[in-house]
């Protein structure tokens, strides 16, 4: 398991193994994982420790979009495709992302640096079109902004 069991146990203890705290528990456990997801092994471990079924854990993970059952790249890019971003030229941004990253929406790059996904509105419509990278909001996006953001994330020094 990527996450340290010691840390996971600490989280479980903090929430007193209460199943009513399943969502914060899973959120915190997911944060321990660099790949931003809850592995099957981890789900099994938590189920056993909390004395609840693995199905219950998966029901919750798959229901909520902030909980992932699949690994994400180092930079998890979530492009908003809801109404406001849609009419403020999200398509241009999407094309720029696809061409800069060399992956389609829904994919993770081979080097696991980037995952690109759609996400519903995250309440940044006043700065639409917008995206989140590892939960940090980037707004008022333009094609040239995308270029510079991606190259910064790649660690390119030339700007």
């Amino acid at each position: 398991m990527t996450a340290d069991i010691f840390d996971v146990n600490k989280i479980l203890k903090k929430y007193e193994y209460k199943d009513s705290s399943l969502i914060p528990i899973l959120q915190e456990v997911q944060k321990l994982n660099e790949e931003k997801y809850i592995s099957e092994e981890m789900a099994k471990y938590i189920a056993a420790e909390m004395k609840i079924s693995k199905t219950r854990i998966y029901e919750v993970i798959t229901f909520f979009s902030a909980l992932n059952d699949k690994p994400k790249g180092k930079y998890f890019i979530q492009l908003c495709n809801s109404t406001v971003c849609e009419i403020t030229d999200k398509d241009l941004i999407e094309n720029a992302l696809v061409s800069e990253l060399g992956i389609q929406v829904g994919e993770t790059s081979q080097d696991k640096m980037f995952t690109l996904e759609y996400t519903p509105c995250f309440g940044a419509c006043d700065v639409s079109p917008a995206m989140r990278v590892n939960k940090v909001v980037y707004g008022n996006l333009t094609e040239s902004k995308i270029k510079s953001i991606v190259s910064k994330l790649r660690g390119d020094t030339h700007e």
């Binding site: 969502i23 919750v60 229901f63 979009s65 809801s82 403020t88 509105c121």
Partner: protein
């Protein structure tokens, strides 16, 4: 003339979360003091005079809701602040929490006192994670200063607040689904009755209020309902926070008196349309709201004027689309959203959205027929009438109004194909 107001937003840009003393200097917690001093009857009277209606979208009179709530008896009761602002095109609650967190906490404490709860929660959507620590800090400082915690202001009233993080699910904006998620379950709406006001969190009576509603409660109890009621119109009293966005020059959160026209809002406050284009349509109240064609933009922004034309205030979102936007593409984005967010519990919503998506795909590919259009309309009506919760009941609103106002556009793409 820009008629934005500073009533609910009086403290915006006047303090940082660390500076609770500045909030207090500005008259902060005066609403709570008045509430505790003068008692529950006074609070209900003030709310009734203020004409306040729930600002989450349901628009139910707050005074009436609170008066009913305080008469429910139980050993333990809870109050919630619903900061799960998930309605696309809506971000005014975010602004309130960013720019005046103490006012929201103050409103929540007043709701706790009135409802008879010792414990309150603020349920903040996961997407506003950047706010979670800030609000925790505000809670801590309010406790240290005696405005939360034990024996508040020496009145014997105990009240504490905890932050709960959502996990990304629009349907959790619905009270019972939100509570399901707080209990560690998938957020599917519960069967009613019982309403959450009777059996909510952990089976106890739970009263939930929107962020803006609570901020207004604190404002009204500070300034006096009669003064607050000087704003607005006879039937839509007071001021309203709006989320103005889309193809306007100055998108943002604004506080306006009820009664301005949409035209004034878009041009005087929003600066007009980007590129000085014309307006094609608006969507009021977020993604679950109707599309409003341009011809209605002289309508006054009040509950009664909008309702008379078949529209509504909803969440207070005002999305503006310029003349170059495609209604079909817009509907696709609406449909994608609901497709993604349907919890899958009931058939009309789950299957309806699937069908709607299929038909929309056809429309945008240009392979749809007039029969398909009739079909979409039928499915939309079934979803609206037969879905279990508000999500399914409103998922087809945009589609139905698009058919009503833009069928030439929807049809022309159909007929062109037929002519080929």
């Amino acid at each position: 003339m820009n008629r934005t107001q500073k009533v609910i937003t009086e403290n915006f840009n006047t303090y940082k979360v660390e500076q609770i003393d500045k909030y207090i200097e500005n008259g902060g917690f005066q609403g709570l003091k008045n509430a505790l001093e003068k008692g529950k009857d006074f609070i209900i009277d003030e709310l009734n005079i203020s004409g306040l209606r729930g600002r989450g979208g349901a628009a139910y009179p707050t005074g009436k809701k609170w008066n009913g709530g305080r008469q429910t008896h139980a050993d333990v009761k809870y109050v919630l602040c619903n900061a799960d602002e998930g309605e696309p095109a809506t971000f005014k609650d975010r602004e309130l929490l960013v720019k005046d967190p103490y006012k929201v906490l103050e409103g929540l404490a007043i709701s706790g006192y009135t409802f008879g709860a010792k414990e309150g929660f603020i349920y903040i959507r996961e997407e506003y994670e950047f706010l979670h620590d800030k609000i925790r800090k505000a809670i801590k400082l309010a406790e240290e200063n005696g405005y939360l915690g034990k024996n508040i202001l020496g009145t014997g009233f105990d009240f504490s607040i905890k932050v709960f993080s959502g996990a990304g699910a629009y349907v959790c904006g619905e009270g019972s689904a939100l509570i399901e998620s707080m209990e560690g379950k998938a957020g599917r709406p519960r069967m009613k009755p019982p309403r959450i006001g009777v059996a909510g969190y952990m089976g106890k009576p739970t009263q939930s209020n929107n962020v803006e509603t609570l901020a207004i409660v604190a404002t009204v109890l500070k300034m006096g309902a009669v003064n607050y009621a000087k704003y607005g119109t006879e039937k839509s009293i007071g001021t309203k926070m709006i989320s103005l966005c889309g193809n306007v020059k100055k998108p943002g959160t604004y506080e306006i008196p009820f009664g301005m026209s949409l035209r004034e809002i878009i041009y005087d406050i929003g600066g007009g349309i980007v590129g000085d284009k014309d307006i094609k349509f608006l969507q009021l109240g977020g993604v679950s709201g109707p599309l409003m064609p341009k011809k209605y933009i002289d309508t006054k922004y009040t509950y009664e004027d909008l309702e008379a034309e078949g529209f509504g205030i909803g969440s207070g979102a005002i999305l503006v689309a310029d003349e170059t936007k495609s209604v079909i593409k817009f509907l696709e984005s609406v449909s994608y959203f609901f497709f993604h967010e349907s919890c899958g519990k009931c058939t009309p919503c789950r299957e309806g959205k699937r069908q709607m998506k299929k038909l929309l795909d056809k429309m945008s590919k240009g392979t749809a027929t007039t029969k398909d259009l009739k079909n979409i309309e039928k499915i939309s009506r079934i979803m609206t009438d037969a879905s279990f919760c508000g999500l399914g009941q409103t998922a087809a609103t945009a589609m139905l109004t698009a058919i009503k106002y833009f069928s030439p556009e929807l049809c022309s793409s159909i007929d062109e194909i037929k002519a080929l």
